[in-house]
């Protein structure tokens, strides 16, 4: 249960092709993250899978069965919305029970499942409250509760953490990952935040302008980005992308080197530059360095380093970590 396969799926709104044509395989039990800048079509893709939008062409199969024209409720999927979409007039208990009630389960069974879900999600004390009496994180958990009671073949998450503050986001990220470990159900998760994608996913699908740029595990994308877009999108701080003389010397149009793959020295090295800004995070130091002839280079070096604005430093990119891209922007 829980495999989803898209064949030639496309979506056109009026004149605009939001998704030109797309193939994708999602295996049973995988945690798949759709990531990309806003407007890349990731949410539309999720809604196509959910059945909330009709496809303009192509086929969607769930567990090997063609689901292209099935209504959302018949697809056996559950969704957690960005706004949580809790029913404001119902208590937490009724919210979680709603899909079960719609499925026609008997009352005892519903009660049992709701209690169980509430326990898993630490909502037991809040079951009789209304959504507006809950904090953002609690609302998020109710929305998840409403999804898990149905025991769907897959969960769909549409940017579920974007309305939470930073600290809570880290917590919920962990909770969702743990939930996945526990339930082992397929999850499809949409986000624009590459950190969420890297930390949670088994498989990341990078989308840009409705096209799949690359599919792979977080480390695959990190180690060998297929093109300039993925190279620039995955990883924080961003990969340095250098063109011109230096790139040509390496037989490429563009050469990429991640900030953490640059070695720093105060005495000697390949590039000599001047620090414009040093960001001291404690664990790391991010250096913004102007290198004459090369350009602006970011480097991530060890923490607690006594370097500041105006200091001269030497940087050496690690040869084996260089990424080369041709004039099409594709990895060589």
């Amino acid at each position: 249960m829980g495999s989803i396969s898209l064949k030639n799926v496309s979506k056109v709104f009026g004149e605009a092709a939001v998704i030109p044509s797309l193939d994708l395989e999602i295996n049973k039990g995988e945690f798949v993250v759709f990531v990309g800048p806003s407007g890349c079509g990731k949410s539309t893709l999720l809604r196509l899978i959910a059945g909330l939008e009709d496809v303009s062409g192509g086929q969607i199969a769930i567990d090997g069965v063609d689901a292209t024209s099935l209504p959302p409720a018949k697809r056996g999927l559950a969704m957690v919305f960005q706004s949580y979409a809790l029913y404001p007039h119902m208590s937490v208990r009724s919210n979680i029970a709603f899909p079960l009630k719609m499925a026609g389960l008997d009352k005892a069974e519903i009660d049992r499942k709701v209690t169980e879900a509430a326990k898993v999600l630490n909502l037991t004390d809040y079951l009789d409250r209304k959504p507006r009496q809950l904090s953002g994180g609690q609302r998020q958990r109710v929305a998840i509760g409403r999804a898990i009671v149905r025991q769907p073949s897959a969960f769909l998450f549409d940017e579920p953490l974007s309305n939470l503050d930073a600290a809570l986001r880290v917590n919920m990220r962990l909770e969702i990952s743990e939930l996945h470990q526990q339930l082992k159900t397929t999850m499809i998760y949409v986000t624009h935040d590459q950190v969420e994608a890297m930390t949670m996913a088994d498989k990341i699908v990078v989308l840009n302008k409705g096209r799949v740029e690359q599919v792979g595990s977080p480390l695959e994308l990190y180690r060998s980005p297929a093109n300039l877009f993925v190279a620039g999108f995955i990883g924080s701080p961003k990969m340095n992308l250098l063109t011109g003389e230096y790139a040509r010397a390496h037989g490429a149009t563009t050469v990429g080197i991640r900030p953490e793959h640059i070695t720093l020295s105060t005495t000697e090295g390949e590039w000599k530059g001047v620090v414009t800004v040093a960001e001291h995070l404690g664990s790391d130091t991010f250096l913004h360095v102007d290198v004459p002839g090369i350009g602006h280079v970011n480097a991530r070096v060890s923490g607690e380093l006594p370097v500041g604005h105006g200091d001269t430093v030497y940087l050496s990119p690690q040869r084996e970590r260089l990424h080369r891209f041709n004039d099409q922007g594709l990895a060589q």
């Binding site: 959910a50 909330l52 209504p71 959302p72 409720a73 999927l77 559950a78 969704m79 919305f81 960005q82 706004s83 979409a85 809790l86 029913y87 404001p88 007039h89 119902m90 709603f98 899909p99 719609m102 499925a103 409403r146 149905r150």
Partner: protein, 276 residues
Amino acid sequence: MARKVSTARKLTFTAIAWVIALLIFFPILWTILTSFKTEAEAVASPPSFVFFDWTLENYAEVQARSDYFKHFSNSVVISLGSTLFGLLIAIPAAWAMAFSPTKKTKDVLMWMLSTKMMPPVGALIPVYLIFRDTGFLDSRSGLVFVLMLINLPIIVWMLYTYFREIPGEILEAARMDGASLAKEITHILAPMAVPGIASTVLLNIILAWNEAFWTLNLTASKAAPLTTFIASYSSPEGLFYAKLSAASTMAIAPVLILGWFSQKQLVRGLTFGAVK
């Protein structure tokens, strides 16, 4: 943000505001007070404010002489009837426009609004003649129909602005949760829409209750609501201040009370959502 407001400043504003508010409210207060006076005290000079013999006889008198409750029930039937009929017709329309909008939805809404802009004298003569020839003159059903029509744009608009505030994601969530269209309506939409429908009803009852162009022109006695009934006091033989006050107090009291509950909705309803 919260700065301490000096008590002196607050007291000054309180005094000014109360004086002005009482001045504005005074005609209503005076009417209510006068309704408890005898006719002699009502025109006494200098007038007395509180120290008079309070009496209820005017209320009994108004009912006995002119059958107040007939007109009161006419008002109730006409305002409730026109509002409920309007609701019945408007809910599906507002629903459709809020939840499956098309490119034309805005035009339809604006057009509906434009019918409200037509001055009533533009339609008075034909409506009067049609009513005269079909026997609807001075009938409650005729007025229910006309008031329903003149308030229909407001009802559609108010409902539309309320329905539109129900987030689409909630309907999608219900759909994902396996709710059929019927269950989506009964379990999710109706409970969320009820407050909006209630405010719409409230405001429209008030507007219909106070409507004084069509009621004055299309009724005489049998179907006359309170607006027409009160207007009959303008003839010289009706010059009994205490009774006039009693009749007036009874005519405005129900709506005054309803109105205080609907302050917020009033703004939205009367500005067609342009000010919230």
